[in-house]
Amino acid sequence: MATKASRSAARLMMAPAVILLLGWMLVPLTMTLWFSFRTYLPLRGGDQGWTGFDNYVRFVTSSSFWPAVSTTLIIVAGVLAITIALGVLLAILLDQPMWGQGVVRILVIAPFFVMPTVSALVWKNIFMDPTNGLFAHLWRFFGADPVSWLSNAATPSIILIVSWQWLPFATLILLTAIQSLDSEQLEAAEMDGASPLARFFYITLPHLSRAITIVLLIQTIFLLAIFAEIFVTTGGAFGTRTLSYLIFQRVLESQNIGLGSAGGVYAIILANIVAIFLMRIVGKNLDT
């Protein structure tokens, strides 16, 4: 694309995609901002005009705001910790030459293809049901009282379900990273007297740092917005109400679009704070 003509042609060709993407982002964002400053109660009088920052004040001062923020962060952190720790181990395991490698790899990736709603329902009804669930049977087999997972340990249960869904993604990215590790480096470390554990911590893990960073960033973006898993399991009860679930409740259950929109703006701010935080911590891994 060297000449003036070809450059303007390229701009013209790219324009539809750029306009579409911009529209896709800007229109909802503007509408959210617009509604967040208005009293809009669809079933109780509709759009009733400007209210200034009332919605913002009401949203943060509500007793459910800070618990929702902390639940969101706990779920995100828990899922990240589980998927990355297990992902690294699974990736190392899958990298070993073994019989039936292809089939095993597909099986490991499979959870990623299951829709969030479906997998949450499967976990809820088949595994975690306190009377008929597999866990309940297992507990009874050992003579213990079955746990009511989704009411007594609701947040850990959600973390478990979401981790199960995201583990394949982490494993896949980390597996490709592990496969690019030069085997001579491991052999050199072996000659240098490093034990298998030392080889893992001094060679493999630093090699994976960039891939772990990528997993961390991508998963955080998606995990801040998890909704379906909570909707079909606890419905936001038992301390599993995340920020995005709180917004959903404000808009649809309380029928208050203005208040929900203000929450949406807070969610954007929270996401950006987390993103900046992460970039600070792990950003240097992407440079080198």
């Binding site: 001579e184 480096q185 052999e187 050199a188 072996e190 000659m191 240098d192 007297g193 090699h207 080198t288």
Partner: protein, 334 residues
């Protein structure tokens, strides 16, 4: 100390035996070069000695004790890899210190040894950089530094110069030779380049398909190659191998004569031909000669710049006492 002995060592990958039973003794302090065409098993042999591959049958003894089942780290050997295998996320200092750190040596001693190695190899200027910021030759030095700090019984080099450009290769060749003189430690060096083998080795081991063809000093191999393979492999340009009628005159199946042992004469001469390609190097001229009736091409070296060009008629006089004779099995006739 660093005497290494291989006794009836074999190696198979699945059903394929890449190294048939092999015996070899490497004396303490010797610079031994394994040389052979690619795929001849020289790198495998080195990895067997290092312990990175398990031997199928046989024994390896290091300094008289059986090391066959000893893990690589405990054999007291240090290896320099073809790709250098530096740890990319560690600084040069940490790379060199790594084996000492793994040996749980105390920090003061580590610093002392790293600084000493940096001194020997002129690494001081970039000791805090990472491998990614270094040139090929510098990385090579770091890899050697990482090997020498351990004060190993022997060094193993796996084609360490093949990733360097030609000028740097000659320089590093000298440096490794000097290092050997300075440390007087056993070194085993794998290469496919017979020039490296000739210039560096105390002892050359010529390998083909996992079999040792000949072991000897560079000049022994040059003067008395045991068979046609060694004759063709050692020496540059390659020895001319001639079969047929001309060989029969010398009571042999094959005769060999090196390009530097054929003189170009004005007239007469034993053999005649036409010049194909003439390579003028200034100090020498290499002629590739056709239509001699002996072999497809005959290579001849003339001292200085001889002004014969493509298509010219050339007269050749081989030196009778430099002709090597081989029998039908390709073995040397004394």
């Amino acid at each position: 100390m660093g005497q290494i002995e291989l006794k009836q060592v074999t190696k198979s990958f699945g059903d394929v035996q890449v190294i048939p039973p092999l015996d070899l003794t490497i004396k303490d302090g010797e610079f031994t070069v394994f040389v052979g065409p690619s795929g001849c098993g020289k790198s495998t042999l080195l990895r067997l000695i290092a312990g990175l591959e398990d031997i199928t049958t046989g024994h390896i003894e290091i300094d008289g004790s059986d090391a066959t089942d000893v893990v690589p780290a405990r054999r007291g050997l240090a290896m320099v890899f073809q790709s250098y295998a530096l740890y990319p996320h560690m600084s040069v200092r940490k790379n060199i210190a790594f084996p000492l750190k793994m040996a749980k040596m105390d920090q003061a001693e580590i610093d002392k040894r790293v600084d000493a190695a940096a001194q020997v190899l002129n690494l001081a200027d970039y000791i805090d950089r990472r491998p990614g910021q270094l040139s090929g030759g510098q990385r090579q030095r770091v890899a050697i530094g990482r090997a020498i700090v351990r004060e190993p019984a022997a060094f193993l080099f796996d084609e360490p110069l093949s990733n360097l450009d030609a000028a740097l290769r000659v320089g590093m060749r000298m440096e490794i030779s000097e290092l050997h003189k300075k440390l007087a430690t056993t070194m085993i060096y794998v290469t496919h380049d017979q020039v490296e083998a000739m210039t560096m080795a105390d002892k050359i081991v010529v390998l083909q398909a996992g079999v040792i063809e000949q072991v000897g000093s560079p000049l022994e191999l040059y003067r008395a190659p045991r068979n046609t393979f060694v004759a063709g492999f050692i020496g540059s340009p390659r020895m001319n191998l001639i079969t047929g009628e001309e060989a029969a005159k010398h009571d042999a199946h094959t005769i060999g004569i090196r390009p530097e042992h054929i003189d170009v004469v004005e007239s007469g001469g034993t053999w005649q031909g036409t010049v194909g390609v003439a390579e003028h190097l200034g100090s020498d001229t290499f002629f590739h000669i056709h239509n001699t009736g002996l072999a497809d091409t005959l290579t001849v070296r003339a001292i200085g710049d001889v002004s014969l060009t493509h298509g010219d008629k050339i007269h050749l006089a081989p030196r009778a006492d430099e002709i090597h004779r081989f029998d039908t099995a390709g073995l040397r006739i004394a």
